[in-house]
Homo-oligomer: 527 residues x 2
C-alpha cells in the first residue's frame, strides 16, 4: 500500500497527539485548567485552537485524572486547530486513525489510515447504497426534491459508512473513538448527499451547487460512529460537473506542483480531463465514459472476476488469446479488454479504419448475426454461460464514439490553450481503468495521443488517494484551495469545430494518420 502514496508527502498529519507535561496549578499560577492545556498547546504551535464548550468538564476531569500529564489529540481545520480529546497518563501511545473515502456514484472505497505511523492499514469497497434509488446520479438528484428524501439519501450513506468503518475497525482490533478524522472525496452531487445538502440546482441551468467549498464538520454532527469531535473534511468542488473527487485526483497526481505540463484523465460516468502545471489548470468533461469502461457493450462489465481484461490476436491465424480476471471462465469483457480487442482486431485487419468488420476475411470467428457481422472472442464452450462471447460491429461502433469523444476532448482542451500533445510531459489515467489499460493499445486505436509510452501513468483510485494524502499531510489543504482557485472549467459547447474533430476521431486511429506516426496500418484495414 505504500506505493499508493507519493514520496513527497510532508509528515504533517491532520491530527496530532502531543504528549504534555503541564506544571500543575499552584497559588501563584491560577490559570484555569483548560486555559493551562490551551497555553501548552499554543506554545507547541497549535494556535489558534478552538474548544467545544460542551466538552470542557470532561477534559478538565481527564487533565486532573492524569495529574496534568496528558496526551492531547488536536485536529487541524484549515484556519484553526481544534481540541478533539484529552487522554490522561500513563500514555498509551494512542492510535490516531482516520478514514479516507472515495465517495463514488457506484461504489464507496474506504481506506483506514494510521496517521501517526503513516500507514494504510486496510482497504474496502462496497456498492453505493443509493443505487436502489437510482443507478445514475441524475435519478438520485431528481429524487432528492424534498427534505425527507435528502435525509434518506444521506442516511443511506451514513449507515453504510458506519457499517463498513465499524467492521474494518473490528477486524484490526481498533475502536470507533480512535478515529479522529474523515476525508471524503466525491463528485458534487455525492458530496451534497453525504452532507445532506439540497442538490436540486446542480442539474438545472446554470448548474449551481448549494456550496462548493464545504466547512469542516464533526463526527457528532454527522451522526457518524467515530469520535464525536472527529474532523470531517469533504473535498471542495469547482462546480456542478467538477467535484471533490477531481480536486482530490489532481492532488493525488500532484502536477499542480510541477513545472512540467501534466494531463489527468478520469473515466467514470463522464470522462473528465484536467490539463496544466503549477501555474495554471484547465478542466473539461464530456460524455466519453461508460463505453470505455465496458459499460455499454452487450458483454461489457466492470473489471471484476470473470472479465476478460487482456486480449491478443494472431494476425496470421486471427485466433485470439485472452486473460480473465480471477482465472475464471469469461463472463464478459471490461474496459481494458475492449481496448485490446479493438486494437488487435484493427491490427489484424479484422476491423477497417472505418471500424467495420472485414467480412471478406476467411475465419470461423467472423460470423453473421441478426445485428450484423461479429467477431467471436470466445467460443460457447469456453464461457461461463455457455454462449459465444461476441464483439459485434454495433459494439465497436458504440465504442468508437466513446474513444472519439475522449480524443476530441483532449484535442479541444489543448487547442483551448494553444498547446500540442507533445507539450504534455505526464499523462495520468485515473481509476482501475487507468491501472489496467495498455497505453500502446489505446494509442493504436487513437483513443489517446501518440506520445512516448513512459508519458503514461495509471494512478488507481485518485479520489481515495487524495483523501488519504490530506490525512497525512495537512499542508495539502492549502494545495486543494489553490487547485480550486486556479482551475478554469470550460464547457464543451457543441460547435462545428468540435464536430469535425469528433468525425475524424471516429476512425481507427484517425482520418489524419500523421497524428499517429507510431501506428502501422495494415493493407487489410484499409478495406
Amino acid at each position: 500500500m505504500s506505493s499508493f502514496l507519493p514520496p513527497w508527502l510532508k509528515s504533517l498529519p491532520l491530527v496530532e497527539a502531543p504528549h504534555l507535561e503541564l506544571v500543575p496549578p499552584h497559588l501563584n499560577d491560577n490559570t484555569g485548567d483548560l486555559d493551562r492545556l490551551i497555553r501548552a498547546l499554543k506554545q507547541r504551535g497549535y494556535t489558534p485552537i478552538h474548544v467545544n464548550p460542551a466538552r470542557i468538564n470532561h477534559w478538565m476531569r481527564r487533565l486532573r485524572e492524569g495529574k496534568y500529564r496528558v496526551t492531547a489529540i488536536v485536529g487541524y481545520a484549515s484556519c484553526h486547530w481544534e481540541l478533539l480529546e484529552v487522554q490522561p497518563d500513563p500514555p498509551e501511545k494512542p492510535p490516531v486513525l482516520g478514514f479516507a473515502v472515495d465517495l463514488g456514484t457506484t461504489s464507496l472505497a474506504f481506506y483506514l489510515v494510521d496517521l501517526a505511523r503513516r500507514e494504510i492499514l486496510a482497504h474496502t469497497s462496497v456498492a453505493n447504497p443509493q443505487i436502489p434509488i437510482g443507478e445514475d446520479i441524475l435519478t438520485r438528484i431528481l429524487y432528492a426534491r424534498e427534505d425527507e428524501s435528502i435525509r434518506k439519501l444521506q442516511s443511506l450513506l451514513l449507515e453504510s459508512f458506519n457499517q463498513v468503518m465499524g467492521s474494518m475497525l473490528d477486524q484490526m482490533g481498533y475502536r470507533e473513538d480512535q478515529v479522529y478524522a474523515l476525508a471524503v472525496a466525491g463528485n458534487t452531487a455525492m458530496s451534497h448527499f453525504f452532507l445532506g445538502l439540497d442538490p436540486s440546482h446542480i442539474c438545472r441551468e446554470p448548474y449551481i451547487p448549494a456550496m462548493n467549498r464545504f466547512p469542516f464538520t464533526h463526527g457528532r454532527e454527522m451522526g457518524l460512529r467515530i469520535h464525536p469531535e472527529a474532523l470531517v473534511y469533504v473535498f471542495p468542488n469547482v462546480g456542478a460537473y467538477f467535484g471533490g473527487d477531481l480536486t482530490a485526483g489532481i492532488l493525488a497526481a500532484g502536477f499542480h506542483r510541477s513545472e512540467e505540463m501534466g494531463l489527468l484523465v478520469d473515466v467514470g460516468t463522464n470522462a473528465e480531463v484536467v490539463l496544466g502545471n503549477r501555474d495554471w489548470l484547465i478542466a473539461c468533461a464530456g460524455a466519453a465514459g461508460p463505453a470505455l469502461e465496458g459499460g455499454v457493450m452487450e458483454r461489457g462489465m466492470m473489471a471484476a472476476p470473470g472479465a476478460i481484461d487482456r486480449v491478443r490476436i494472431d494476425p496470421a491465424t486471427l485466433e485470439p488469446s485472452y486473460h480473465v480476471l480471477g482465472d475464471e471462465k469469461p463472463v464478459g469483457i471490461c474496459g481494458s479488454g475492449v481496448i485490446d480487442t479493438v486494437a488487435e482486431m484493427f491490427q489484424a485487419g479484422i476491423l477497417t479504419i472505418q471500424g467495420k468488420i472485414n467480412t471478406k476475411l476467411e475465419s470461423p470467428r467472423i460470423v453473421s448475426t441478426p445485428d450484423g457481422p461479429a467477431f467471436v472472442l470466445a467460443w460457447a464452450k469456453e464461457t461461463a454461460d455457455g454462449e459465444d462471447l461476441l464483439i459485434t460491429e454495433i459494439d465497436v461502433g458504440i465504442f468508437l464514439k466513446s474513444k472519439a469523444a475522449m480524443y476530441t476532448i483532449l484535442t479541444v482542451i489543448l487547442n483551448k490553450v494553444g498547446l500540442q500533445f507533445k507539450d504534455v510531459k505526464k499523462f495520468y489515467v485515473a481509476g482501475t481503468f487507468g491501472n489496467n489499460i495498455d497505453p500502446a493499445m489505446a494509442i493504436r486505436i487513437g483513443m489517446i495521443p501518440d506520445l512516448p509510452l513512459e508519458t503514461y501513468e495509471g494512478l488507481g483510485n485518485t479520489a481515495g488517494r487524495g483523501a488519504a494524502m490530506v490525512l497525512l499531510d495537512r499542508s495539502l489543504l492549502r494545495d486543494v484551495e489553490t487547485i480550486c482557485d486556479q482551475i478554469t472549467y470550460i464547457e464543451l459547447n457543441v460547435n462545428m469545430e468540435l464536430m469535425n474533430e469528433f468525425r475524424g476521431a471516429l476512425f481507427l486511429p484517425h482520418t489524419d494518420p500523421r497524428l499517429f506516426p507510431s501506428v502501422e496500418i495494415s493493407e487489410r484495414a484499409l478495406g
Copy 2:
C-alpha cells in the same frame, strides 16, 4: 440610558446586518450559492467567516428566495466571523438585538440592546433563581458536586433567562429570533454555573476554575430561546476570585485605556479593588463587602424602597433628618444610609474616634438596650413596622470592621506598587452602592482616602455596562483580552503589616489623622 454608556465607544457592533446584492449565477460563474454569499461578505471585510453546515440548505433557499438580494446577519467571534442568518429581500431593516446580562450572585440584570440603533431599549432585574439552593456562592459550589446538580444550577439560570428575555421582548414587540447576541458578565462561579461547568475546584486550594477564558457558544447549544445561531459571549475570569464581572467592570470604567492612574472598587460579597492604567493593572479582594451594603446590620437592607439612604444630624440638637427611597415609611437602612449615619454621628460627637457611643451626651435619642448603647435614628411612630429604628454600638462596630478592611485593602494595593493615594486621579465606585454613597461622608469616616471629591465617580452596574459595551463595540473584545493578560491578582496574606494597617483603620477616621487632613474632629468625638 444613554449616559449608561461611555462616549468613546466605536460603532463596531458585535453583530452586523449588511445588505447584499449578489450577481446571480450564470453559466460563466458557477460559484456555489453559499460560496457566492461568503465571497460577497469577505469582500466587505467579514473574513474569515464560518458557516454552520447544518444551516446551508436553509440559507441557500433564502438566498434564492430573495433572488440573491439578501440581508446577511454576521457575528464576530473574536478570531472569525460567523454567518448567523440570511434574510431575503425586500429588506425590512431587521432589528439586530442583543442582551447584556449582569449575572450576579444575588440578582440578574438584563439589558435589551439594539445593536444597530445603539440604544438600550429596556432593563430588568430579577432575583437569582439559585438563591433557594444557596444564598451564598459557596453553598452553591458545594451543591454542584455531581453532574446532575451542575445541570440543575444551569437550568435554573437558563429558565430565568428565557422567561425574563421573553417578556422583555414581548413588551417591546420583538421576537426571540431577532436576538443575535448575548454578553454575560458574572463572577467565576456564576459563569461556571451558566455554562454548566464543574466549579468544584474553584473553592479548594489552589482555587482553579475549569476555565477562565471561555469559548464563544451559541443560542442553540445553550438551549436559550434566542436565535439558534446567536453568539453567546461570557466574560473571561482572571481567577477563582476575580471573575468576568470585574473584567467587564474594568472595561466599563475604561481606565485600562487611560494614561492616568485609576482605581476601581466593587463592593459585593467581597470588596474587589483594581488599580492601574493603560500600562499595568493590579487587583485584589477582601472580605469588606456585606456590611458596607448594609447587609450585616440589624436593620441593614439593600437600596430598595423603604431604605433610608441619606441621613443628616444637627450637631447642636443631635436630631437626625433622613431620606427614604420610594418616599415610604422607613423599613431599614441601606449602605449609603449607614455611611451617612456613622459619619454624621461622628461629626456630631455621638460617636467617638474609637466608634463608641458617647453616652455622656444628653439626648433622648441615645438609649440603652440589652445589646448596649444605641442611637435612635427613627422613632417607632415614623417606621413601617412601628419599632424604633436603632443603630447600636455593635452595629457600628461591625461596620467599622468593614470600612477598615476596605481602607486596608486600598492601602495595601497602593503600597504593593509603591504609590500613594494622591497618585490616583480617578476613583471609581461600582454598583448601586457606588452611585448612592456620598464620597464626603465616606472620607469623613476614613473608608476611602481623603482625595478631592471630583476624583470619585459612581459607575452603577459596571458588569452590565461592560457587557452592553462589547455588544456595541466588538473591538473591546481585544481590550478584555488585554485586561486579562495585564492584570496581576495579588492574594492578601494576613500578616503583621496588614494587621497593623487594619487596627489603625478601625478608628474614625484613622489613628493617624494626618491621612485625613480635610476631616475635622470635634472635641466630643475625642471622648
